[in-house]
């Protein structure tokens, strides 16, 4: 098959190779070349049939779902395949979503949202080498968020409740507090997994 009439095969392949970063490094080193080759053939075939947009959507779904499954499988095998091993990460992930919503309602501080996002990433990569760095950065962002909430608290007020600046500030601290709790869960999640695995 050739690249004739295809104006951007290199861009498409570079995009696909970039998306392969979703997979663990050793998996990429082993299969990325073959997967990219297969992607090239599939894309050329999809173009010939006139369904490139549908092909890209299917490819994105394929990459995201399979990379998540590969990572989940690695996480389980890291803890001896124990079914409870993923509980802390899954629980913390759910908590992250809820805390994010709460924090947005309470403070609206971008730093806090970022911190929650990074903490979520730290939970997601519970076993990854970047985890200490991610947790460190998110910890710093939490401090910034806390300071912002203390000095410029803009927490919402419920109808009939105390609308004083002090009250709003107190409410504004709720977001960083939730984030701090989440941060500690992220910090402790591997330990929780070990404890669950051990019992």
């Amino acid at each position: 098959m050739s690249h004739r009439n295809d104006p951007r095969p290199q861009v498409a392949e570079a995009t696909y190779r970039f998306l392969l970063l979703l997979y663990p490094r050793d998996y990429r080193e082993r299969y990325a070349g073959e997967m990219t080759e297969l992607f090239r053939y599939c894309r050329e075939r999809a173009r010939a049939r006139g369904g490139e947009l549908r092909f890209w959507l299917a490819t994105l779904f394929d990459l995201i779902s399979n990379s998540l499954l590969v990572r989940l499988s690695r996480l389980r095998s890291r803890f001896g395949g124990h079914p409870f091993a993923v509980v802390p990460a899954a629980g913390s992930g759910t908590l992250a979503v809820g805390a994010c919503c709460a924090a947005v309602c309470c403070t609206g501080h971008a730093a806090l949202i970022g911190s929650l996002g990074i903490t979520g990433a730290a939970i997601g990569t519970a076993a990854g080498p970047l985890r200490p760095l991610i947790l460190g950065v998110s910890g710093l962002m939490l401090l910034v968020a806390w300071q912002l909430a203390r000095t410029r608290g803009q927490g919402f007020t419920l109808p009939g409740e105390d609308e004083s600046r002090r009250g709003r500030r107190r409410r504004a601290r709720l977001g960083p507090m939730i984030a701090a709790a989440l941060w500690l869960v992220a910090l402790a999640s591997p330990l929780l997994a070990e404890l669950l695995h051990g019992h």
């Binding site: 080759e37 394929d62 399979n66 590969v70 095998s77």
Partner: protein, 125 residues
């Protein structure tokens, strides 16, 4: 998926791998008669299922990775001629993989037989 062995003899137990996923069984079927590379596996699976099972690279190589790590298929040392083919990795069925494929085929055949008894499928001539 990791290799499963009988504790007393150390032999692998094909029944322990059952049931296989549809993708895994299709890959074993494709490799039953000869070695293939990833693209050929994808094409043959699509052909044999009448286009119903179209494998994308992520799904195909996750299945291959699991089958290799469980010892049902292996990377082949033989690289057929042709510049393009030499760059590709070929996969082959192991002895354990063949036994597991046979066990899965028997399991499915037994289910089809039951479906016939229950009049869900027409009886064969």
């Amino acid at each position: 998926m990791t290799m499963r062995r009988r504790e007393d003899t150390g032999e692998e137990m094909p029944a322990e791998y059952l049931p296989l996923t549809e993708v895994a069984f299709e890959i074993l079927l494709v490799l039953a008669d000869s070695e293939r590379h990833g693209y050929a596996i994808m094409q043959e699976v699509e052909l044999s299922t009448g286009g119903r099972l179209a494998l994308h690279p992520g799904t195909l190589y996750r299945a291959i990775s699991r089958l290799v790590s469980s010892g049902l298929i292996r990377e082949s040392d033989r690289h057929p001629d042709g510049a393009e083919d030499r760059r590709r990795r070929y996969y082959a069925l192991t002895e354990l993989g063949r036994e597991v494929a046979i066990a899965e085929a028997r399991r499915l055949a037994s289910q089809v037989k039951t479906a016939r008894v229950k009049n869900l499928l027409p009886a064969t001539a």
